[in-house]
């Protein structure tokens, strides 16, 4: 996945009060939030211990990308503004990454929609901002810290915008609501704002037609034209009163991209893998998986059932898998916790099961609309007693597609629960990708009995839990003659016909279940990104899931400073490919484990499985927002300096 080196250095993500509110919880010393990171990136004066490596390389300025954000009150159409702008940029051929910041309420509060467009593949919503469209003062207060020094703010002149003293910002009041009223509906202010944006970045209004038609086509031409008119009015105002104040990056060669979110890719991957049954209960941020399959299953005979709660949902999925259909459930933290007893049922009865967990800020109801990577412990160690389980962690939307598809193979091959874990930031952010290689989708239903094989057996001789060397027993599907068995949540013997409690049968069956994963090597899901072998590195950064893009951009910043930093990303967490992980952790002089949680759950897990207690440093963020690249960069610099 070659990444073009970024010609323009990165400008400081934001002057003014040091809003880089993230914590550097180092397992040893507990640094206060990085107020030491005071200076502007350009002439950065890092008030920290003397830098061992001089800040070599050109000042970091953002090249090849454009960062725009619209913000305002929830329920005011902010999302549709962002969607129209981002979809259009994707259609034009840019690589786009969009991130929605919203609250757990319906009207009011503050929501914003960030759109980052670049000339290269990006997996991060971006540390900074060139143009902010503000429908209220809260939007300015909440996002000013992200705006580059001479960034642009377009605000609806229905309110008086205030910007702190001495903050170099190009401020333009625009009569968004007034123009919208003239068009007959104040909600059109969003489309007017897109028009103004088009003008300030030099995009023609017609560039938006296909998106407008795709979105409002079914509501009739009149609505399409009304929206186009709002775009035009905004464009005219922008061109006349502001002019082009920002430039879009060059268009990449490969222009046809898929603009798809993690949740959509998970659902699409499931359909591709032959999944035809989803039972789920609505919960932010996982509900889009339901929507996508509700929309697309009918053509392929699939069924989505909205269960009365998560316990019903996961047990429905287990019943459907038992009856021979590839079935799944999808939820977030609270639902995952409710499903723990059923996870044990799938494990003990050796019934395949795919469970998707789109993590959100915890604990408990926590931060329903925010992102976090804090369910790892429960995924690895949840349910009473011991069962085999598999935990896959997609890092990108492509992974969401491929790993979900592979999860159905693994679930049937190992006849056990398989988790696919993403989070709010990966699940709900649409990313432009070059495409999906459908030839990679294989369907391997593992060890299934055929009717012929059953017919050859004596009557009643089929043993569902046959003790085999691999531990996996061939599975009959209800409806097949002479394949009778009882899937049991109690301990049982080979025959799988009744509860058995004697000690030797128990031991045999326990070992049989637990050795099933012995031959599963997931090391292909542990990827090392680095030009140098690990032993030559100054630092190895380890991450999992949605942090991949942030880590890679931070590493570019570190490389610009002359540091040799490698990156190990884990897409499979259980069974852990210990040998491969150990090899990199042993070789690297320093290791920084980056994760969106408070206690360093991956760090703890690595210590347990492969050790390196002293070597593993943590970079933890748990305030509900995804990592910024600069936050990982700062923490890495600190670890590098402590040598």
């Amino acid at each position: 996945m070659a990444r073009r080196r970024n010609p323009r250095a990165r400008t400081h993500p934001g002057g003014g009060p040091c809003r880089l509110a993230f914590s550097i919880a180092v397992s040893s010393i507990n640094l206060c939030p990085p107020c030491w990171y005071t200076g502007l990136r350009k002439g950065v004066k890092v008030v920290a211990k003397e830098l061992r490596h001089a800040a070599a390389g050109a000042p970091r300025t953002l090249a090849g990308e454009f960062n725009w954000k619209v913000g305002g009150q929830q329920g005011e159409g902010i999302d549709s503004t962002g969607e129209i702008f981002s979809q259009t940029l994707n259609r034009l051929g840019y690589y786009v990454y969009q991130y929605r910041h919203f609250m757990s309420l319906i009207k009011g509060g503050h929501t914003n929609y960030k759109v980052r467009a670049a000339d290269h593949l990006i997996r991060h919503h971006g540390d900074e901002l060139q143009v902010l469209v503000a429908f209220d003062q809260k939007t300015i207060d909440h996002n000013l810290h992200e705006l580059v020094r001479d960034g642009v703010i377009l605000y609806d002149d229905a309110f008086r915008a205030r910007v702190p003293e001495g903050r170099e910002v190009r401020l333009y009041g625009v009569p968004l609501t007034r123009i919208a009223r003239e068009l007959g509906n104040p909600i059109m202010k969003n489309m007017v704002a897109v028009g103004v944006t088009a003008a300030v970045v030099g995009l023609p209004v017609e560039a938006f037609r296909s998106t407008i038609e795709a979105r409002f086509g079914d509501k009739g031409a009149r609505v399409v034209e009304l929206n186009m008119e709002a775009l035009r009015r905004g464009f005219e105002y922008g061109a006349e009163h502001i002019g082009q104040v920002a430039t879009l990056p060059q268009l990449p060669e490969v222009r046809r991209h898929l603009f798809i979110s993690g949740n959509e890719a998970v659902a699409y991957g499931a359909l591709a893998a032959g999944c035809r049954f989803l039972a789920a209960y609505p919960i932010t941020p996982a509900t889009e998986i339901m929507y996508w399959l509700i929309k697309n299953f009918p053509r392929y005979g699939g069924v989505v059932i909205q269960a009365e709660d998560e316990i019903a949902a996961v047990n429905m999925a287990i019943g459907a898998n038992y009856a021979g259909v590839r079935a799944m459930t999808s939820t977030s933290g609270p639902g995952l916790s409710l499903m723990q007893e059923a996870i044990g049922l799938a494990g003990m009865s050796e019934t395949p099961l795919v469970v998707v967990d789109v993590m959100r800020g915890g604990p408990s109801t926590g931060l329903p609309t925010k992102t976090e990577q804090s369910d790892l412990n429960e995924l690895l160690y949840g349910t009473h007693g011991e069962i085999p389980r598999i935990v896959l962690a997609p890092a990108t939307v492509e992974d969401c597609f491929y790993l979900t598809a592979e999860a159905f193979n693994l679930a049937e091959r190992y006849q056990c629960p398989v988790y696919v874990v993403t989070d709010m930031s990966l699940g709900m952010s649409r990313t432009s990708i070059d495409g999906l290689d459908y030839s990679r989708v294989r369907i391997d239903r593992g060890s299934l009995m055929t009717q012929e094989e059953l017919d050859r057996l004596e009557k009643g001789a089929y043993k569902r839990y046959l003790v085999t060397e691999s531990g996996v027993s061939p599975r009959a599907i209800p409806g097949m003659r002479n394949g009778r068995f009882v899937a049991l949540s109690n301990e049982h013997d080979e025959a799988g016909l009744e509860e058995i409690e004697d000690t030797s049968t128990r031991e045999i069956q326990m070992k049989k279940r637990m050795r099933k994963l012995d031959d599963l090597d997931l090391s292909e899901y542990v990827d090392y990104y680095g030009d140098e072998p690990a032993e030559n590195l100054d630092l190895l950064v380890v991450g999992w899931g949605s942090t991949i893009g942030r880590i890679q951009e931070a590493i570019e910043m570190l490389a610009a400073d002359g540091y040799r930093v490698g990156h190990l990303h884990l897409r499979a967490l259980y069974p852990l490919p210990k040998a491969k992980v150990r090899q990199y952790l042993a070789a690297a002089p320093r290791v920084l484990v980056v994760e969106n949680n408070y206690t360093g759950q991956l760090g703890g897990y690595l210590r347990r499985e492969v050790g390196f207690h002293e070597k593993l440093e943590g970079c933890h963020k748990y305030n509900g927002d995804p990592f910024l690249a600069s936050e990982i960069y700062s923490r890495a610099r600190e670890v590098l300096m402590n040598g």
């Binding site: 898929l258 019903a312 019943g319 409806g479 016909l497």
Partner: protein
Amino acid sequence: MAKVADFRAARPTWCPGCGDYGVLNALTRAVVNLGLEPEEVVVVSGIGCSGKISQYFGAYGFHGLHGRTLPVATGVKLANRELTVIAAGGDGDGYGIGLSHVLHAIRRNIDITYIVMDNHIYGLTTGQLAPTSDKGMKTKTSPYGSVEEPVRPLELALAQGCSFVAQAFSGEINHMAEVFEKAIRHKGFSLVNVFSPCVTFNKVNTYDYFKERLVNLDEDPNYDRHDRHAAIKKVLETGGLVIGVVYEAEKPTFEDQLPGFPEEGLATRPLALNEADFAELEKQFV
């Protein structure tokens, strides 16, 4: 055509005289009368003495978790509509921990027959209060007599519009077999609450207790089991101590109303998508 012997399975470990023997017996007769083959039937059961029935009935079985009988049965039926799915469990399993799943299964009207072996006690855990225990019942967890009102399965099912509501009694196995047959034949969700005495831990609601009190609606010529209101009235009058079909209505099943839901079982359909499918699906993301 399968015979009763074809449905024989592991020897039950129930106490001699337990009402559940009768349920097993009547269920076997019903499926044989309906001409069903063992491989066409799946018995999904919960946890309790009653829940062991999936091990003693010679069809496919799923012995799941306490209270989650109907969600598993729902998944099985939607996965393969050609299977005859019987859910079976105890009164604690169904009306205690599983009560919400019962009422939501009724709302969906999926073609499942749900048999509750209602012995008014927690048998397997050796005699605690059950949701259906009569008020004032003395048990290990209510030594001074329970203060809660019992769950009223028939009234709740009728209130929620269950399309087939019936009751049976382990003391009248022939009648119970007939009720089971009607329940299985009924297209949609069928609830059959069975008074299935626990001879070990419930010395109040015994065979005799029910023999003295039960009224057989199937023998009442002027009882109209298609009139929900009349059914409710009858249940109120008799305190629920009736057997036979209490209420029956033709209602579309969940699976029949689902857009795009195929006739044949999902389990038997091809899984892979072809190039054209992917090309079509991809359009949404361009």
